[in-house]
């Protein structure tokens, strides 16, 4: 395990940027200002957590990146242009599986929609299922799986196309702590292994501190970037990291910044960090 990937450090400032938010704002037709004046750079290979209270627009930011929503003003600059952004994996808060389809068919789906036959997809799907520790569950249907296993299927599905970018919208919020810890570990393993860029939306300080190399703290009403916290702890991170002084210190910093953001959100508007 340890000899696998030790070179990947936190705060990878020298990595080329993948995506810039440039003064991005999003206002819904209801009048709700979901995001205002967001400037944010996501670098290749980042594991960025968007941390903030509900209503801070973190899910909206994710949908903008995915292209499921368009900004009201400002723009998203992709390196090489929007056309070059390639495949994007998305993991929703719910597992969001097809309830009538088997585990295999669920993971196959993104490939299937790209015209890849079952036989052609077989290797990729099985490898992915293996990676999320679901080998042998090909024929199970979602209702036969536990919440954690469903989420694993969802992650396998998001990664089966080998996307450059994986977007996750509070994927583990509904899981119990033991399952969440395990999935956090596995997610980091996958990230170290497959070298995708990850944007992870969460409201958990502990989760963001454990996973990311950058924590972007957001404030609500209107949603905006409050500040950013680089996480310099090296990867891989394991159970020992969870109990380390470094991790505790990090959580304290992130908590403090989040409290500030929450205070700022209830009062007057505040510039970005």
């Amino acid at each position: 395990m340890l000899q696998k990937q030790t070179g990947r450090q936190g705060g990878a400032d020298r990595a080329p940027p993948l995506l810039h938010f440039r003064s991005v704002a999003k206002t819904f037709s209801t009048g709700v200002v979901a995001l205002r004046d967001v400037d944010l750079t996501i670098r290749e290979g980042d594991f960025v957590s968007l941390l903030g209270p509900s209503g801070c627009g973190k899910s909206t930011a994710l949908r903008l990146i995915a292209g499921l929503a368009t900004p009201t003003s400002g723009r998203l600059d992709w390196r090489g242009g929007t056309a070059a952004r390639g495949d994007i994996g998305f993991v929703f808060q719910e597992p969001t599986l097809l309830p009538w389809a088997s585990v295999f068919e669920n993971v196959w789906l993104p490939l299937r929609l790209r015209g890849v036959s079952r036989a052609q997809a077989e290797t990729a799907v099985r490898e992915m299922l293996d990676r999320v520790h679901l080998a042998g569950f090909d024929d199970a249907v979602p209702r036969e799986l536990s919440g954690g296993m469903k989420m694993r299927v969802s992650i396998a599905r998001a990664l089966v196309t080998r996307p450059k970018l994986l977007l996750m919208d509070e994927p583990f919020a509904a899981l119990d702590e033991i399952t969440r810890f395990k999935l956090n570990d596995d997610l980091l393993d996958l990230w170290l292994d497959q070298r995708f860029t990850a944007v992870f939306v969460t409201h958990s300080v502990f989760e963001s501190a454990f996973l990311s190399n950058r924590i972007v703290v957001m404030a609500a009403r209107p949603g905006r970037v409050h500040g950013e916290l680089p996480v310099d702890a090296s990867f891989p991170r394991d159970a020992a990291f969870r109990t380390s002084q470094e991790y505790a210190q990090l959580c304290r910093q992130a908590s403090a910044m989040l409290s500030q953001a929450i205070d700022a959100g209830s009062g007057e508007t505040h510039g970005d960090g």
């Binding site: 499921l68 998305f90 969001t96 009538w100 389809a101 789906l109 993104p110 929609l113 196309t161």
Partner: protein, 283 residues
């Protein structure tokens, strides 16, 4: 570990009671309606005897049964005619209902424009429309089919439309994210998601199709060799042949029940692996 009282030791009184209630309920579900049915038939028989009711007014159950036996060739050939109309009507209702629902699902505009027409067709009593059909359609079978279809297609249309539109928003996003075409979205997402709704509609439509076929034949007043059960009932009514009337009635009811059971079974088999409605309740 169980020691003195053997296998019963594992369960506390509450669980034992629950188990007993469950067992009773399982038996009662069949036994109770059967018992009530037997009592009702016995009462029917007694009422005939006690009041000396003549056979042409209310025949005794035994007479109805023997009529069912003796008139079987006539009745069953008529049943076959009715069944043919029923199933063809149902088939057309499935094709028409699902086809229209898929069309509606392609665009909100199409649905908004045409759905009211379907409602109008549904709420107007078929008996009232029939004289028009009688004028416009020459072929007897076509007339009856059209009636059965009008009555049966609406629940399929409205249920399937509802099903096609009730797809999880995130799944829709997922398909969009993966560049799914309209056809792919329909084939891999909306049609399977609509399946439970469609099957619910089908169960209703099966019974309605039979009703449509019988009612249509009533108003069409078809007679002759190739006529269905409704004509037999009318005929028997004219001749005060109450036993045959009852026998035909029983055949129609039993057919309706069978159609419902078969469609329920189909629905259960299709959905049993994934849909809540087909899952066994767990404690």
């Amino acid at each position: 570990m169980a020691t003195v009282d053997g296998n019963a030791a594992a369960l506390d009184p509450q669980e034992t009671r629950r188990l007993r209630v469950e067992r009773l309920e399982r038996i009662g579900r069949w036994l109770l309606p059967l018992g009530i049915m037997i009592v009702a038939i016995w009462l029917w028989d007694r009422i005939c005897v006690w009041n000396g009711i003549p056979q042409y007014i209310l025949p005794r159950p035994g007479v109805v049964l023997s009529t069912l036996w003796s008139d079987a060739p006539l009745l069953f050939s008529s049943l076959l005619v009715t069944l043919k109309i029923t199933f063809l009507g149902l088939l057309l209702a499935v094709i028409g209902g699902v086809g229209l629902a898929v069309l509606f699902a392609q665009s909100k505009w199409v649905e908004m424009s045409f759905f009211p027409f379907a409602v109008v067709l549904q709420v107007t009593p078929i008996v009232a429309i029939f004289p028009l059909i009688n004028i416009y359609v020459g072929n007897q079978t076509a007339k009856l089919l059209l009636c059965a279809w009008i009555v049966a297609f609406f629940p399929i249309l409205s249920n399937t439309t509802l099903g096609l539109n009730s797809v999880d928003r995130n799944l829709r996003d997922l398909f969009a994210l993966n560049g799914a075409s309209r056809w792919q979205q329909l084939r891999h997402l909306r049609l399977p998601a609509a399946m439970p709704y469609f099957l619910g509609g089908l169960k209703i439509a099966g019974g309605l199709s039979l009703i449509g076929a019988v009612v249509a034949e009533f108003v069409a007043g078809a007679t002759g060799q190739s006529s269905g059960l409704a004509s037999r009932i009318i005929e028997a009514g004219y001749r005060l042949n109450a036993p045959r009337l009852f026998a035909a009635l029983i055949l129609i009811s039993v057919t309706g029940i069978l159609i419902f059971l078969v469609l329920s079974l189909v629905s259960h088999l299709v959905l049993r692996r994934w849909h809540e409605s087909a899952l066994k309740q767990e404690q």
